[in-house]
């Protein structure tokens, strides 16, 4: 399967020649794979330098004259470092932008916490016109980006090198709608990103224990599909959320908000608690932070036995 970042480059190459408003700005990231766009759309590609706050701020001027900026670099640098620029220059001024990050939460597992990002989804969600998309496969990115890139929103596309490996039909990918991966009656697992793989593996183990698991996958965090999660929880009354995001504000918190009024709900959250110190592979850091199918299995067993 193609990497998400490659899909980003291909999608821009597809859209750029058709829409002369598209302007791409990167902070010395993905420069090589974006050369086809740069050649196909001369004068609309900028590897602007290592200056993330100014890159975002300057993009607001580009947006002000009617162009469509697509701004790209590693997640903590574009969102956390440049957050005031996003908040004021796009939020307060009501200007549109597409922010496309790479690196997910800890794809750069060999580089340490400076390159991790667990709060970006929450930060953009707090902005009124903030839209948050976490595509877990290339087709999701292509479909969702193509659908919404020219809307007057602060669009945030959070890309990861990890894919969940599930093949969706293009027509089943709808902006703002969750996807029911499998039906179940005992427990609801809500999941984002490549963690879907872990959810599915856990569900297999649980099945042999006689536990029927419903899995709901979200590629869009904001606007959030409250309906699909609510319907599921009215049936199962048990929720486990699985996310590579800060435990303080992410999929769990929005799922709980969606379940207000549902009596007797039992829940468990699997999320990132603190800086994940240390190095290794992506899988190593998943284990270290308790993001694996064993943890999902244990969480489900815990609430089923309550």
């Amino acid at each position: 399967m193609k990497k998400l970042r490659e899909e980003f480059a291909d999608t821009l190459l597809e859209l750029g020649p058709k829409d002369s408003r598209v302007v791409v700005m990167v902070g010395d990231i993905s420069h090589g794979i974006l050369q086809p766009f740069a050649k196909a759309c001369p004068g609309r590609y900028f590897n602007i330098g290592i200056c993330e706050p100014a890159m975002v701020n300057i993009a607001s001027g580009i947006s002000k004259v009617g162009l469509i900026p697509v701004i790209h670099t590693i997640a903590p640098f574009i969102i956390e470092r440049a957050y005031e620029q996003i908040k004021l220059d796009f939020g307060y001024q009501k200007l549109p932008v597409n922010l496309v990050s790479v690196g997910g939460s800890f794809d750069y597992a060999q580089l340490g916490c400076s390159h991790h990002c667990y709060t970006d989804v929450s930060l953009i969600s707090h902005l009124n016109r903030g839209v948050v998309v976490m595509p877990g496969s290339p087709i999701e990115f292509n479909k969702l980006f193509t659908d919404i890139y020219s809307e007057n929103n602060i669009n945030y596309f959070r890309l990861s090198e990890q894919s969940h490996g599930v093949n969706f039909n293009r027509e089943d990918i709808k902006f703002g709608e969750g996807i029911k991966i499998q039906d179940g009656k005992d427990v609801t697992i809500a999941v984002v990103g490549s963690q879907l793989k872990n959810a599915m593996n856990a569900a297999e183990l649980l099945k042999s224990d006689g536990i029927s698991t419903e899995i709901i996958y979200f590629h869009t965090i904001k606007p959030f599909d409250k309906k699909i999660i609510r319907e599921s929880l009215l049936k199962t009354r048990r929720l486990v959320t699985l996310e590579e995001l800060s435990e303080h504000d992410g999929l769990f918190s929005i799922s709980i908000k969606s379940s207000i009024g549902i009596d007797g709900l039992k829940c468990e959250q699997i999320a990132i608690k603190d800086f994940i110190h240390g190095y290794g592979s992506y899988e190593d850091l998943c284990k270290k932070s308790g993001l694996d199918h064993h943890a999902v299995y244990a969480a489900v067993k815990k609430i089923v036995n309550l």
Binding site: C51, I58, S60, K64
Partner: protein, 260 residues
Amino acid sequence: MNSELRIKILEMVKRSGEGHIPSSFSIVDIIEYLYSSVLKYDCLKPKWSERDYFILSKGHGAGALYAVLHAKGVLKNDDIINYGTPAGILGGHPDSTIVPGAEASTGSLGHGFPTAVGIALGNKILGLSNKVFALLGDGECHEGTIWEAANIATNQELRNICAIVDWNGSAAQLMPRDDLPEKWKAFGWETFLMDGHSKDDFEKVFALVLNSKSNAPKAIIAKTIKGKGVSFMEGHGKWHHRVPTDEEMDHAILELKNEK
């Protein structure tokens, strides 16, 4: 010079109890000259697609911008009267989504200038000839985004942008090593020195800027006096965010009227 505008600024701030008088006095002459003699601008059509842009990056000088926009007919009498009230659209920093003629919402320092660079870059991409002028505070030049954006403008050869720095000595109070002309020159900007309160100098310097054949962006370092026009406000840091008493108000207006 521009006593009526200064009196208008005083009255707005006095009425509402909030504002930055000296920061507006140091720049009102420049802004008035821009809208009268430099900018390609139609006051009846503030969104005119062929307009030159003026961006007040030091947003706390908003009183000066409002006074000039009012004098030019972009803002109404009621807008000035309702400054800082729930009924109004004007406040201590400009909000571009509600104030006609305000091209950027500024207040947190270091945001308006990069936006101006982005407009200049966007216009270059679109092949448009609109010019962009941004007015920065000297204290604002302590912000990192100013220099990130200045570097980008030089490397993108944005000859369509002109930064005007209100060099009123505020920055030097905090960081005495304050050689702004050399800094802008070092960043690759074609740099001009200007008396921020001399119409003769305005004519001379803006003519040089507009006639320059260089591909470099332009920087005008405008030597100004904070609080210019009212002797007891001039240069005094304590007046930065102060509202005058009734007596001080009378003295200030008298002095301004006599200067006319």
